[in-house]
Symmetry: C2
Amino acid sequence: MKAVVTGGAGFVGSNLVRRLVALGHAVTVLDGMIEGSGANPANLADVESGLSDCLQVDLADAVGWHEAVAGADSIFHLAAQTGHEASMREPIDDLKANAVATLRLLAAAREVAPEAALVFTSTRQVYGRPQTLPVSEVHPLAPPDINAVHKMAAEEYLRISGRVDGRASVVLRLTNTYGPGMRVRDARQSFVGYWVRLALEGQDIPVYGDGEQVRDLTYVDDVVDALIDALPIAATSSPRFNLGGDVASLLAIAQEIIAAAGAGSYCLVPFPRERQRIDIGSFRADDRAFRTASGWAPRVSWKEGIRRTVEYYRSRRKAYW
Amino acid sequence: MKAVVTGGAGFVGSNLVRRLVALGHAVTVLDGMIEGSGANPANLADVESGLSDCLQVDLADAVGWHEAVAGADSIFHLAAQTGHEASMREPIDDLKANAVATLRLLAAAREVAPEAALVFTSTRQVYGRPQTLPVSEVHPLAPPDINAVHKMAAEEYLRISGRVDGRASVVLRLTNTYGPGMRVRDARQSFVGYWVRLALEGQDIPVYGDGEQVRDLTYVDDVVDALIDALPIAATSSPRFNLGGDVASLLAIAQEIIAAAGAGSYCLVPFPRERQRIDIGSFRADDRAFRTASGWAPRVSWKEGIRRTVEYYRSRRKAYW
């Protein structure tokens, strides 16, 4: 199989690339290597020689797409601006990374990869503040930030492409993915990453509010499983599925990270205004539809995942700090 | 009142501008004067001297917005790429005109017009092919084309702006607006305009399919009433309302235009593929929510509106053909 992975130097992307290469597929990576994104050359260091191609292109440009996707059997479109607060400060950048890039991809694929199935990573953020928990796919959409609006728009592009071009695709709405390869410099990509770094540095983890908000944590290996398991259920109707995982409170997550690191501490701090205005409260995904359709199930408990993650970063400060 | 009208040289915009000036308001027009849009200098010829300002700016640029909206009490955001088929051919242009321009407007208004109420013209197209008729605001959204995706995104920007910036706004989802000032060169803006021109030229009007699809027709003076009546119900929740009008079949509309023109004819032709793939079938809006909230009601029947429209264009070929 010839597979294309956009955002392949990023967190989830690089883990997917490693798996696809191990499975014997021909893999082309596209990545904008944008400062502030999850892209990190260290993520691909051990697998780069096994790639068919690795292209650094501005994904909002028209240039580079045709070469990259020509003849692809499958396209995993993971490249994105993922920061919710960042999208509020720089909405046009978010628009380019999420909406424009997806339009470019679809336009190129229409010409040079008409048969490729597409897997797209969206976000649970499209639901906004949940009306009920757990949140299934019939929950109304109410994007609370610009990033969620653009992810929603990209989902619609795929559905239109299915009807108009016959493009088979599938959308996975991710919750909180964490694990080796995530950005730990700051909380732009994942608060878990930032907290792991703070703990390993022996610093205070700031937990917002009372820490009782719950999040779905999905270990990156389980997300990689899901992306691959999603491929056979791609369809022109562009089905959309939640992807959940293990539920834990922010406070419990902080405590587990501190225990695994054997260092650090936490403190409860009031919500910063920039965060509070887009915060969605507790979230728990109902992902039974995806489990039924694909056969997928997560394999790594959140405590085991945190342990593996902390161990990974313990010896890799130079590449990720 | 200091009012800003984006797309003020366009069809609905120029009719709104004329009314606002007549009501004694200070009106600033912003228009990109984009080739292929509804903008036409002839639309403002009789009112230009009464404007506070008339700025030609590329609305997808950051430049010009601050100057235009500074100190505004109200902003009517009508500038748009409105062509559904055009949005499928040139999705990035549609994105710029509809999504980027709205982000630019909101960013500028946040700084220099924090109190201005905003009225936004969206489209019934966001609903896609109706599941039931008439379509009320609780009908699920299923944008069938790129233009509708971007209108939906812009609606979401307004809701976020309401929550985050305290911006009061209101969304009117228009159906088929027609009347003096509309583009008649082609069917990009309104099939009615194109048909009026064909009839006046003594040509055949091509009616797609069996002509039994129905459309809501709203005469432009009634839409102008609605835009002004909407201003007081702008709120930070950014309420969204359908705006309907008189219902008629495509065939009846063609026949009425031909009768009013005293010229032309029609023929039934199969749907072109480019149109069929995004066609939504019959549409009829339930606009009771807006009538109740605002007190608005249309005043011009569709037959009277067609008559006035044909008379307007009969003597204005030079400016509009």
